[in-house]
């Protein structure tokens, strides 16, 4: 009994409509990032393009990859891995900037 309840555990069913909204947001962000990088912004071009990429990947992770509906420990694990990556980048650039 207990086993069958566990394997039949109901998942949160995400409606199609939400996925369509997220796709539209992702497409708008894509074209905005193409638009913003075609303008000469100098050093801000890289920052702008990366900011758009971060927002887009956030949407994919949270909605398409269901993190919004996952248990907190899975969210924490994902956040931790991204934090490790950011720290690695920061430390690498601290090294290169202050050589």
């Amino acid at each position: 009994m207990n086993l069958s309840v566990m394997s039949n555990e109901k998942h949160h069913i995400v409606p199609y409509r939400l996925y369509i909204i997220i796709l539209l947001a992702l497409l708008v962000l894509t074209f905005s990032s193409i638009g913003i990088t075609s303008i000469e912004l100098g050093k801000f071009t890289v920052a702008g393009a990366l900011l758009f990429a971060v927002i887009k990947s956030y949407l994919v992770l949270v909605y398409f990859m269901h993190l919004k509906y996952d248990k907190p420990y899975i969210k924490l694990m994902v956040a931790f891995v991204f934090a490790v990556f950011v720290v690695t980048i920061v430390i690498t650039f601290l090294d290169y900037l202050y050589r």
Binding site: I13, I22, F64, V81, I89
Partner: protein
């Protein structure tokens, strides 16, 4: 009765499957993460060469591939929804659309690389070695490694989705045993996330 229950009971743990997939995705993120760090350090050291070399890439084909991958991510996510709603036909249809979009992505990549090759640009090509600066050679080296590794992930993702589709069709993957399709989706979204960063870094920041 005991016997039949024993035969039918196959070990299945949706949550463990998901966590296992995430752990694997973490290793993938750090694999590409390492390459992104190499890219940013070399870009920092050769800003002008990277700027010049990136002009060679076609923003249109990059943007087209971005749109294809984003749509395919939506369709595979929808496939999971329809599986949970017990709609086998929609699940298979949406997965098929995902596979077709992935294949079109690869065809575009084939033509894109083909154009580079016809311009004499491939790793270690004589044209690159004789006429390009160190920075440009680094840019194209990273371009081929990173987009190539990404394309390899697309191929693997397509195979996993195809296996999931066969299992859905056979009825061994269904609303109460959806982990295989869900994990195929997770993998496909990972490939999408990586491309979301590859696209601006190679095609947009010129």
């Amino acid at each position: 009765m005991e016997k039949s229950a024993h035969i039918e009971h196959e070990h299945y743990d949706a949550e463990a499957s998901k966590v296992g997939m995430w752990l694997f995705i973490f290793t993938e993120l750090l694999l590409f993460g390492g390459l992104f760090i190499i890219y940013s350090v070399y870009r920092f050291m050769n800003p002008d060469a990277f700027h010049l070399a990136a002009e060679e890439l076609d923003t249109f084909i990059g943007a087209l591939n971005t749109v294809l991958l984003l749509i395919s991510s939506m369709t595979i996510a929808m496939a999971t929804t329809s599986l949970q709603k017990n709609n086998k036909l929609h699940t298979l249809l949406l997965s098929t659309v995902t596979v077709i979009l992935g294949l079109v992505f690869l065809v575009n990549k084939y033509f894109e690389w083909g154009i580079k090759f016809s311009h004499g640009i491939w790793p270690g090509s004589p044209h690159m070695m004789e006429t390009m600066s160190q920075g440009e050679i680094l840019f194209f080296g990273l371009y081929f490694i990173m987009t190539g590794l990404h394309a390899l992930h697309i191929i693997i993702g397509l195979v996993i989705i195809a296996v999931a589709m066969v299992r859905v069709n056979k009825g061994t993957v269904h609303a109460n045993r959806a982990a295989l399709l869900e994990n195929a989706g997770l993998y496909w979204h990972l490939v999408d996330v990586i491309w979301i960063f590859l696209f601006p870094l190679f095609y947009l920041i010129t």
